[in-house]
Symmetry: C2
Subunit: 247 residues, 2 copies
């Protein structure tokens, strides 16, 4: 069976309700499935319950039951039977460290790749679908055992991609500069996914959908803009090499 | 002998030349020393030479000779005899990974702590003076062996600290939110050091100097603003515990 991924830049877009901007895409992605496990680990421990309650509320109109993965005794075992996993946003380092400690990385990778488990992410959860968390925007507030994440796709995504402010006097790096730094050290394509958009993967097909264009960065190539509706399947066939410094 | 640190938020402030905003502080910090080693490792390898040339140019008016640490055969040995080390800005992850590979962390920590080597940093170089890189703004483009850095002070600094934009529709975290996430997981004070300012440590004394106020964050305490000229020596006496989640 082919794999199915829904990778949102963000869960909530300015002036809209939680997941409201992606309502139709959600229905299409779920394809009749009525049960979701939600991983709230990008939030702080004390917020797991309230974060899960927000997701439960957001999925009520879809007649979908949401179970917080933190409420089951053995998350890895639960994921062996799950139909859909939704990994929510927050801090990517905290998220990855917890996923590693729970030992769920391999079971998710295997079942998603074999088309048995559908994977949906937003923000940090989308970042986790990449080979590595290396293109996160988050602060490294804790140290994961390694930066390797689910690796459900072969390229990197930068969620919440932002264009440089035109009138800034700030001397810190722009988002584009940060991604170019990543390309200095890694020969791996990066999709700058602006808020309001998402990637939808179905087997060998990859599409950009949503409200905003995406900016795609490759080494030795000028960044390119792609409109919603673009077929990005070619991204899945590109080579990707980490830790290969630009000469 | 007491230790001497000069920790700049940034090397260049809007509309001013390289290190121009901190000219007097530099003279005071160097205190007659005429020879500096410069660590350019936060930049990409191909830029080491040009970055070092910029620093050499900036120090000419001070009659100071700057040697790129990357130009000497054995950097750790060179640092055993050095008077002043300047660690420049760029990407903190790349910087820390390289410092670890060069095996210079311990010799710098030991000689700075004993007052034998003066330490000057800007941006990522200032971040390295902390116990950990955990409060960097940089993208984790490469994976260092650990997040532990020089540990010349007991608290954390966030360089290039930025106030939240007032008119933004962006849903990503503000800098303050990121630092509060750090405090969820670590009971360690954080100095939000705005561009144009620096910390000057002389033994048990710590002062905020420069052009802008700093914002200091502590767990379970409202963030506090401090003006340039503030005595922050009390920060050096606070306990700091990493990896202690907020209950």
């Amino acid at each position: 069976m082919e794999d199915n991924l829904l990778l949102l830049s963000n869960s909530q877009t300015h002036n809209m309700g939680f997941l409201e901007h992606a309502r139709e895409a959600l229905v299409e992605f779920l394809d009749g499935r009525r049960s979701i496990y939600f991983a709230p680990y990008a939030a702080k421990v004390s917020a797991y319950d309230s974060y899960t309650a927000t997701i439960q509320e957001a999925f009520k109109p879809f007649n979908v039951t949401v179970t917080g993965l933190h409420t089951v005794d053995r998350p890895a075992a639960a994921l062996r039977d799950a139909e859909v996993l939704f990994v929510g946003g927050g801090n990517s380092f905290r998220l990855l460290k917890t996923l590693q400690q729970l030992d769920v990385i391999n079971v998710v990778r295997e079942r998603v790749t074999h088309g048995e488990l559908r994977y949906m992410g937003s923000s940090a959860g989308t970042n986790m679908s990449c080979p590595s968390l290396r293109t996160t925007n988050d602060m490294p507030i804790v140290q994961p055992a390694s930066f390797a994440s689910f690796g459900l796709i072969s390229f990197q995504i930068n969620p919440h991609y932002q264009d440089p402010p035109t009138d800034s006097t700030h001397m810190g790096e722009t988002r584009e500069q940060r991604i170019l730094e990543f390309l200095d050290e890694n020969d791996v394509p990066v999709v700058g996914l602006r808020e309001g958009s998402w990637l939808r993967k179905r087997g060998a097909s990859l599409a950009l959908e949503g409200l905003t264009a995406a900016r795609i960065f490759r080494r030795n190539t000028a960044p390119q803009e792609y409109k919603p509706g673009s077929d990005l399947s070619w991204l899945l066939t590109l080579p990707a090499t980490f830790d290969q410094s630009q000469p």
